[in-house]
């Protein structure tokens, strides 16, 4: 059986600069993969490469066996990929509702409704659907970004530091939610996290990146302190 998402020798560029170098990995169905590494090693670039937002990439990227590497970004999301970018990417002139609706454009079924799960998880959003998203506080925006990605009805959720800037009890909650999405709804996750603790708790497997290359990988249990020490401290 092939993996849900498969990277085969992917190299990714900004302009002429190689950022990711020969990255290969598999994401199994229902798995939660944590991508770890220092600042600027290429974690975000990895996510953007999946979405087709880097300038150019070589190698094969497959979802359920289908090659998406050569496709333009807008044709990738419909394969069931929901993206929560770093910096959140909220459209400030849209209302909260419109932002979530944006997610529905990538739905396979094209249904223009907000899935109820989005609002169930984030009560603040439910109460403020008509607010202009640009006015939300940082944490509120982060919640909105997750809700929007869920509106895609994703099989794979890409989360680029999703807990950044979120108040502790909601960090906890988001942790629970992600676990729920992963375990109960069977959504596979790719998660970048700086907090080893969170990674250990949520992850099934890990991918350690350094200077654009994968330097270690395996089940989360194999992520030793020594590895962390070597690749994540300065």
């Amino acid at each position: 059986m092939s993996a849900l998402l498969n990277f085969d020798n992917v190299t990714s560029y900004y302009g002429a600069t190689r950022i990711l170098k020969d990255v290969s990995f598999d994401l199994e169905d229902g798995q939660c993969l944590c991508v770890l590494g220092r600042n600027g090693v290429g974690k975000t670039t990895l996510m953007r490469t999946i979405m087709g937002l880097t300038d150019r990439s070589t190698g094969a990227i497959r979802v359920n066996g289908a090659e998406i590497g050569g496709k333009p970004p807008h044709q990738r999301a419909p394969y069931g990929i929901g993206y929560v970018p770093q910096g959140r990417g909220i459209l400030s002139d849209f209302t909260v509702r419109e932002n979530i609706l944006l997610g529905t454009f990538a739905r396979a079924d094209k249904a223009p409704e907000i899935p109820e799960i989005c609002l169930r998880i984030f009560p603040y959003l439910k109460d403020n659907l008509e607010r202009r998203a640009g006015l939300l506080s940082g944490g509120q925006k982060q919640q909105l970004a997750i809700a929007r990605a869920l509106a895609v009805g994703p099989k794979i959720l890409l989360l680029d530091e999703p807990t950044e800037g979120i108040q502790p009890n909601i960090v906890h909650e988001i942790g629970e939610i992600l676990k729920m999405l992963n375990k109960e709804l069977g959504i596979s996750l790719i998660l970048t996290e700086q907090h080893i603790k969170v990674a250990r708790k949520l992850g099934d497997a890990f991918l350690m990146v350094d200077n654009g290359r994968v330097v270690a990988r395996g089940p989360i249990a194999e992520m030793t302190d020594e590895l962390v020490e070597r690749h994540m401290t300065i």
Partner: protein
Amino acid sequence: MDLGSLLNALILGLSIASIWLIAALGLTIIYGAAGVINMAHGEFIMLGAYSSYMLQYYFGLPYLLCVPASFVIVGAVGLALERGLIRYLYNRPLDTLLATYGVSLVLMQGVRLIFGSDPKYLAAPEIFSSNISLGFASISSFRVVILLVTALCVLGVWLLFYKTRFGVQVRAVMQNKEMAASFGINSSRVYMMTFALGAGLAGVAGSLFGVLAIVLPTMGASYVVQAFLMVVTGGGSLAGTVVASGVTGQLQSVFAFFTNDTFARFVIFVLIVVFLRFRPQGLFAQVGARR
């Protein structure tokens, strides 16, 4: 001064407003939605007038059909231009200004080479060259036609932008192309359609102005500055342009009624400057994003 003339001035103001609005409408879409500063907009208007002329003169199409046909023809020109040039410039708004200025020169001279530099005659049905008078108020029926067409176009654009999925797509792409693309929106198609639509609307304006005024290769130049003032004063939004055109059109008419046309223009320019001084983002502009 009597009430009747003032009333007439107000009615006329409405008409002037509608003329400015239809001239600016396509630009609002192109600037507001795609961020392109289209200096060739005036030439799109000119092309609208010439396509109507061509259809009428060579194919005998009745004027009323020329108007929608101009929409299609100029829309197609816009589409071609977008594919061939504009799409490479989306992240450089000021460069679109320069490139489209080049386009405007090419279009103007191209039309001159094909049709000659003498003014062309565009015929409209006889009933349009009469007027409607109600008591002491009077307005030419063609101005009513322009008003109606403008209202129709504005309504159409509004429905399209605020009531359809396409509208959401356009507005999403305009704010953040990458995010829109990440959620399955084909931004390149959206831009293309938007640009074509804006061009098409300019075509409609042109076919109307051809009857009201004159058909000349240089006719567009006089509209483009005015249209820009409206769009920017309005803050780039549809509602903004409608209000800006409405208010300035009325002011132009009323000032011209009390003083003269030239002075009225001067006053309008100054008022726009003063207005922007106090609302530097134009009418109805959204507050910028927070940090």
